[in-house]
Amino acid sequence: MTAPFSPGSWLAPLVGWLNTNFHPFFESVSVTVDAVVEGVRAALLLPPAPIFVALVAGAAGFFLGWRLALLAVAALGFCGLVDLWEESMETLALVTVSVAVAVAIAVPFGILAARRRRFEAALRPVLDVMQTVPPWVYLIPAVIFFGLGQVPAIVATIVYGIPPMLRLTTLGFKQVPEDLVELGRAIGAPPRAILLKIEFPSALPTLLVGLNQCILLSLAMVVLAGLVGAGGLGAEVTRGLTRMELGLGLRAGLAIVAVAILLDRLSRAVLRRGRAASVG
């Protein structure tokens, strides 16, 4: 059965052609991403679980307050108690890498969009599509290019994580008070100094909101990507689903909730500190 209009009928050959002719490129991306994620995963798993929990709790307690230290102990402790420590760390590694890449792409584009109205207008429909197409659909070309495993998961997650970060970057930079930018020009500040010393600090609270959104959406996507063979908690959920094991599905699901709450609260706490700093 063929649909009267099927964009896939001409996109699919394109994807196929790209895959055939640029295979070495995709291959090298795949290898690089794999290596980075493995590195982060290994680093997270390097200390024994109790020490890692203590380190995170200590840092959270020192920088963000004892409530967050307590939360860190509870959330990470839960992951260990349900015997999903390694999987949790793997998920954290996937989220970390995805968010880092998404931010690295979204922030410069977001700044550019704040400066050039036309660029922003051109970008808007693209962002809309990125945010509203069901995430599974990204996974199809990602798997075609990168094969099964964690790389397509990360690529799909990055695509999913870029829009919120980019939009909030644009918003943050548009909200920089004009008089401060004029001050920068009037004192003869070079463009780089205006960007780093005036615009970035002013936009910081909004950027941190974007980061928070980016982290949570990425976490959701990384879990989904368990479907295509990305490891971590998502894989456990998928396994629970395919084997109809409620116990496993529930343990993995609750561990995801624990990680999500921890990441959300930590990034919010950082955001609050950012706000406090920006009002002096």
């Binding site: 008070p177 008089d179 401060l180 004029e182 001050l183 920068g184 020009r185 009037a186 004192i187 003869g188 500040a189 070079p190 100094a193 010393k197 005036i198 600090p201 700093a277 920006s278 009002v279 002096g280």
Partner: protein
């Protein structure tokens, strides 16, 4: 005969008033060494067809409304020509929309003129590339904003040092300079506070300190005190004038308040609809407003400290003709610079029919009760006009 424009400097309560030489207000100034800022026929037309509109203005002499109708462009500044001398405080007074802020921003090229040229220290601003322009703004022309524009996440000290920081001055040195500037504006004890902890007046002092810290020759003041309450405003006006004179800086000061312009300025330019309609000393503006518009502003200004004896005295011959019974040489004497306030005191203290105005041992005129009252009222009378 003494004319209004050419007098010697007079040490007033606000520091010595630096009076310009008469007649050299428009066009080429008499001594180019002393001119820091020189604006020649500056125009700013806003809109997408600004250059076509500019051409039409120059070729056909279109007015503001015609430019708007024909080109859809707004004339922000129209043919502004003036110069600012070393050590002078030059006020630009106009209501909102008169183009004064635009004019000010053309002096450091934050706004690009549509036509005309600005010379700062003899260099044409249009000839500067981006780096040279930044250099000029960073070292020679500082600016203070109505909105103060302090960075909220930095301390008072860091804010005051910001101009030096972006220029790459080392931390210890810039903090030393900033601290010195903050002491000058009376904020030496507030270095580690944040802007939000300061009152509006204090915040504006930080803005001024930030400008002074880079040790510029010219300070552009964009309605810096407009948002402050009246008492603080007056205090800051006096301090600003004193400080500027003490440090030997020049300033271009924008205001919508003629009182403020008179209090601060050595000379005042009055703007309306983008054009400068009069330039002169406060006394010249008040005594001889160029048109009804200026006259309306001047109407409410107190003359007590502004108008001086030389402006309200009658010539000696006329006094002799009117009062042959009195010998002007025997009257109480005063100087040509004595203000009306002082003259009233003298007249109240002495029952004589007049006060002799003596300059360098020579009798130059006589102030009578009648001439004093006329001068105080500000009526342009033939009796006083050709003084």
């Amino acid at each position: 005969m003494i004319t209004v424009g050419a007098r010697k400097a007079e040490p007033g309560p606000n520091g010595s008033r630096h009076e310009p030489a008469g007649g050299a207000m428009l066009g080429s100034p008499s001594n180019s060494d002393d001119v820091l800022v020189d604006c020649r026929s500056l125009w700013k037309i806003f809109g997408s067809r600004a250059s076509a509109a500019m051409k039409a203005v120059q070729e056909r002499g279109l007015g503001k409304t015609e430019v708007l109708k024909e080109f859809g462009c707004v004339v922000g500044v129209a043919n502004a020509t003036f110069s600012v001398r070393r050590g002078e405080i030059f006020c630009i007074m106009g209501l909102s929309g008169s183009g004064k802020s635009t004019l000010l921003r053309m002096l450091n090229r934050l706004v690009e003129p549509t036509s005309g040229e600005v010379f700062v220290k003899g260099r044409a601003l249009s000839s500067l590339d981006a780096a040279a322009l930044r250099e000029l703004r960073a070292r020679h022309v500082a600016m203070v904003f109505q909105s103060v524009a302090l960075l909220p996440h930095r301390t008072v000290l860091e804010n005051a040092a910001f101009g030096l920081e972006v220029r790459g001055v080392a931390k210890a040195e810039r903090h030393r300079a900033a601290e010195e500037a903050l002491r000058k504006v009376g904020l030496g004890d507030w270095l580690q506070r944040y802007p939000r902890e300061l009152s509006g007046g204090m915040q504006q002092r930080v803005g001024l300190a930030r400008a002074l810290a880079v040790d510029p020759e010219i300070i552009l003041m964009d309605e810096p005190f407009s948002a402050l309450d009246p008492l603080i405003r007056r205090q800051l006006q006096d301090e600003f004038r004193q400080l500027t004179k003490d440090l030997g800086k020049s300033a271009v000061f924008i205001t919508h308040d003629l009182d403020e312009a008179i209090r601060i300025g050595d000379r005042i330019a009055i703007m309306k609809d983008g054009a400068i309609i009069q330039i002169g000393t406060p006394e010249e503006i008040v005594l001889a407003p160029a048109d009804d518009y200026v006259a309306k502003f001047v109407a409410g200004i107190s003359r007590l400290h502004l108008v001086k004896a030389h402006s309200v005295m009658v010539p000696v011959e006329r006094f002799r003709a009117e009062r042959p019974d009195v010998d002007p040489r025997r009257l109480v004497t005063t100087t040509p610079d004595a203000d009306i306030d002082r003259l009233i005191d003298l007249i109240l203290a002495d029952p004589a029919p007049g006060i002799a105005v003596v300059e360098a041992g020579r009798l130059v005129g006589v102030v009578t009760v009648r001439s004093l009252l006329l001068g105080l009222k500000g009526s342009p009378t033939p009796e006083l006009a050709p003084v």
